[in-house]
Amino acid sequence: MDDCVTIHDAELCRWFATVFAGELTEGAVNAYMAGAAVPYLNSVAEQCDISAERETLEAAIRDWSRHTNATRQLATDFAAHFLIPGQTAAMPYASYFEEQTLFGHAHDRMRARLNNAGLGLTASENGPADHLAVMLEYLAYLLDTNRLDAHSSGYVESEVLPLATSVSRRLEEQKPSTGFYPTVASILTLYLQALADRKLTARV
């Protein structure tokens, strides 16, 4: 086991955040096809059973080689899932699911958390703080700084996990050309549930 790579929780969260933050670059697509996700999946698998989802994901990634332009296909999937709202879209904002609005109370809560931590969004655009990717990166920060228990009690259970679950459910209703995003969302949900359970156990 000493020879195995352990991807820590914070890095796992950053990986998930990257997936939901924007379209995959061609470099990222090539990296996935070269097996770059393996250590991440291994680390998640150590915490929860993702065998079915992993199989689906790896099959989806293998399938990219059949596409003439996998990066394009993934970009259209990303747009359909996350950029163009609609009845079946999975807009990755907590306020969208809670209140059918943008910049709602979930954004306020998230912004308050970031302010308290002295953090802000690096993007130049005026976007909300309750984006799933931002929330995951903040989770990574909490994990990195060992503040998850002390300062952010319930953050996973009451904020990130519900959003990830909502996004995942919406994605399951869609029919994308690749299964990449729905499957990663499923894995994320399982991982967050495991993380929440683990933290809860630790608190008990």
Partner: protein, 820 residues
């Protein structure tokens, strides 16, 4: 399980690192935010507002203290800004990006898009403009905004689009509009101006002098909630006075309308019920009574009008048709008893009478006729030009009737090229007409090269290849959605600039995110006609996501052909606003005091005193030769030789009753489709603006659908109850709507407010509209050869309970996905 060696190899290859993107969080700049927030003032079609901004967000919106009658719609503004339907990034239809003019157009409205950068988007727009101009010439491009926009003199999207696109090359222009097309075409022949967009007699003079006020198909209390410029709501106070005078018996007010209007209920006036689309029949009978009982003002007719004899021969049956237009004749058509028609005629002739017409009545087949006939009745009463008498076609609009201050208002960003400048591409319209009636562009797509008549001219419809829509939504304001969906397949390229995923954007190939007016600085007229002041429009929040002001978008476009400096005149947003203000201040120097720009910007609103009361057409009445009307003769034209010479079978020498292609209450087509569907201006939106405001829409939608208002009798006959989901249909289309029952509606009459967003179940022609856009059902024919205006209110439908699982509403948010 990956080994450390494996991973190190991948890292060396750059593989693993590629899976982690740039940091989304970093150290925050010290935010200068107080817990109380800051109030900012701005304006809108719904009135001037103050908004509480906390942490860079709008958290509360209220009317300014000076607004005497704020509209409830202000409560929808926050939801508009933060709507999940916002367009967040430039998007392009994937298939179109790959294949351009060879892309599959049948999936428009049900597309797969990808996000692109602004540079990519603007390059694509420029490339397409260039391709169209070089391949097809000017006649291949359809652009220009039709309808409304967002307020603000500088950021007006119409101006920005027109200046920038024209700088590149000419395009097919439009004449007329969807609101008043028939009225604004006929009235210059009759009264010398469009009248519909003209200042009217001051309300205090009406309240003082009018004895009988007739609202003819007009609902001002509903429609005065919004204004073309920043609305002041100053005219609504007069309706409170009107209510008091009615209660005291000091004035008689009659609403002639099939429906008990919001205005009628507000002021508690009488209703004279009339069958839909039969106004002209009743008016002719009124003219018959006035003539036969010698109640008309012969002297006025002799001095101020032309063509009465010919008209009255028609009324008396002394023409080719040989039908005397008696009250008995009219009663069978209009549903108003003969005695009521006679009583009405005698009443309006007995003392000072003011007619106020709404616009819906001219949005029908032969829509010119009721407006013309209204002018004829007013001329017969001889009170045109007297205080509290005559006729108005605009008192329901933008606080018309509030006295004009006389102050000069700020100008706007230039609509056209600067003097002496020419487009990159020369005009080249070939055999096609460079200007078409605004509502005939779908006909052009379906029948390029066809020749149609319009206002005395022959128009050759162009062969359109590309459309650019900026800040407007033809998938709301045009009629017959299924015909439209078929037609746009003939467009190679559709570009839309908007802040929200309207149906127009969902059918576009290239979608550019403009920001809302609340995300930019501007200034505006306070009051469209009263010139009540100048309003500073402070940016409430920065543009959301990657949206941009139209100024920035089109400046960047012009940069691509080297004319940015000319476009912007070397000025940025605040420099433009200050320049426009200072020009206004200079023009008012010595007459109206205006502070320095910086003080104005701090104060937010400067007011001017109300001007003198004014009477429409009074100058003409005083001296009809010196102050001649703009008609061909200079007089009121009861009959028009000019129109007669056009030789049209649907708009002749004088106003006439003409049967419609379809009409309820026993008219053509009513056996199959017995319900008249009116699609008048909404009570809780501005056309389609604000329909995407989720919390506000939730206050009026029914089961998530647009309400259809109908009578309890019609509902009972169909086994329907309030709140039921129904399918509304005819041979043109079908939609879902939620039932609202109201005694305001008589049997055979239903209403769906226009502006309800279109959301078809799928991309097929004829698909069920899942939200309730009434233009899924309306007829797309010109009102006549004269105006070629919309005939939206000539529309019959059937209503039935919707059975089965209701499909999800697809109108909001964006296109649904298809699987390749």
């Amino acid at each position: 399980m990956a080994t450390r060696r494996d991973v190190l190899k991948r890292i060396a290859a750059g593989a693993t690192t590629s899976l982690i993107g740039p940091a989304l969080l970093g150290p925050a700049a010290k935010a200068q935010v107080t817990s109380e927030g800051v109030w900012k003032t701005t304006g809108s079609h719904w009135g001037a507002i103050k908004a509480l901004i906390k942490g860079g967000q709008v958290v509360d919106v209220r009317p300014i203290d000076e607004d005497p009658n704020p509209t409830d719609m202000i409560n929808g503004i926050k939801g508009l800004i933060y709507s999940p339907s916002r367009i967040r990034y430039p998007m392009v239809r994937a298939d179109w990006l790959d294949n351009r003019e060879r892309a599959d157009r049948t999936t428009r409205g049900d597309n797969r898009y990808i996000r692109i950068t602004w540079d990519q988007a603007l390059d694509l727009l420029y490339e397409e403009l260039e391709r169209i101009q070089t391949t097809y010439g000017s006649s291949g491009l359809y652009a220009g905004a039709t309808g409304w926009r967002a307020t603000g003199q500088f950021h007006s999207c119409i101006n920005h689009m027109n200046r920038a696109v024209t700088m590149h090359g000419p395009y097919i222009k439009k004449v007329g509009d969807y609101s008043t097309g028939a009225g604004q075409t006929i009235l210059p022949y009759v009264l010398g101006s469009t009248e519909v967009y003209a200042q009217g007699t001051s309300w205090p003079l009406i309240l003082e002098n009018t004895k009988t006020l007739v609202f003819w198909a007009s609902d001002p209390v509903k429609n005065l909630q919004v204004g073309w410029q920043c609305e002041t709501h100053e005219s609504l106070e007069y309706f409170d006075t009107l209510r008091e005078k009615i209660a005291k018996g000091e004035i008689k007010v009659i609403s002639i309308d099939p429906v008990r209007s919001k205005t009628q209920n507000h002021i508690n006036c009488e209703q004279l019920y009339i069958n839909p689309m039969t106004d002209v029949a009743m008016m002719l009978a009124v003219a018959h009574v006035l003539y036969t009982e010698e109640l008309y003002d012969k002297a006025f007719i002799d001095i101020y009008a032309l063509g009465f004899d010919r008209f009255i021969d028609y009324v008396m049956g002394r023409d080719d048709e040989g039908i005397e237009r008696t009250p008995e004749w009219a009663a069978d058509i209009c549903g108003v008893a003969p005695d009521m028609i006679r009583d009405f005629a005698r009443l309006i002739a007995s003392d000072r009478t003011q007619f106020m017409f709404g616009w819906s009545v001219q949005r029908q087949q032969h829509g010119e006729q009721p407006y013309w006939m209204g002018a004829v009745l007013a001329a017969m009463l001889g009170q045109i030009g007297l205080p509290g008498g005559g006729i108005s076609y605009s008192h329901h609009y933008s606080s018309v009737g509030v006295s004009t201050s006389g102050a000069t208002m700020p100008g706007a960003f230039p609509l056209n090229l600067d003097l002496g400048k020419t487009p990159e591409h020369d005009a080249n319209f070939g055999e096609f007409s460079p200007v078409i009636p605004t509502t005939r562009w779908i006909d052009a797509l379906l029948n390029p090269g066809a020749k149609i008549q319009y206002n005395g001219n022959e128009v050759t419809l162009p062969d359109l290849k590309m459309a650019v829509f900026v800040g407007n939504n033809p998938f709301h304001h045009h009629q017959d959605r299924n015909k439209m969906r078929q037609a746009i397949r003939n467009l190679e390229t559709i570009v839309a600039v908007d802040y929200t995923w309207s149906a127009t954007c969902r059918h576009a190939d290239l979608v550019l995110p403009g920001c809302t007016q609340f995300e930019r600085n501007d200034l505006d007229m306070y009051g469209s006609y009263a010139n009540s002041g100048v309003l500073a429009m402070h940016r409430l929040v920065d543009p959301l996501f990657q949206s941009r002001p139209d100024f920035d978008i089109f400046a960047a476009l012009t940069e691509r052909f080297g004319r940015r400096e000319e476009y912007t005149r070397g000025m940025r947003e605040m420099e433009w606003i200050e320049t426009l203000y200072n020009e206004c201040r200079d023009a008012n120097a010595g007459k109206f005091e205006m502070p320095e720009f910086a003080d104005f910007w701090d104060e937010g609103l400067i007011r001017f005193p109300r001007g003198e009361h004014w009477v429409r057409h009074a100058a003409f009445r005083e001296d009809p030769e010196i102050n001649a009307l703009g008609t061909p003769s200079g007089f009121i034209e009861i009959s028009s030789r000019t129109i007669e010479k056009f030789g049209y079978d649907d708009c002749g020498a004088h106003p006439k009753w003409m049967e419609k292609l379809e009409r309820s209450h026993g008219g053509p087509g009513s056996e199959k489709y017995p319900i008249w569907l009116q699609s008048c201006h909404p009570d809780q939106r501005l056309h389609s603006q604000m329909c995407d405001s989720e919390p506000y829409r939730a206050t009026y939608s029914v089961q998530g659908r647009e309400p259809i208002w109908m009578s309890p009798q019609d509902a009972e006959q169909r086994g329907l109850g309030d709140g039921d989901l129904v399918r509304v249909f005819n041979d043109r289309g079908q939609l879902l709507a939620g039932v609202r029952l109201s005694d305001n509606f008589p049997p055979g009459v239903a209403r769906i407010h226009e502006g309800a967003w279109y959301g078809p179940e799928d991309a097929t022609i004829g698909a069920l509209d899942t939200y309730g856009d009434p233009n899924t059902l309306t007829m797309d024919i010109g009102a006549s050869k004269l105006s070629q205006a919309t005939s939206a209110n000539t529309c019959l439908v059937q209503i039935e309970e919707f059975e089965g699982d209701a499909p999800a509403v697809t109108a909001f948010g964006g296109p649904t996905e298809v699987v390749f």
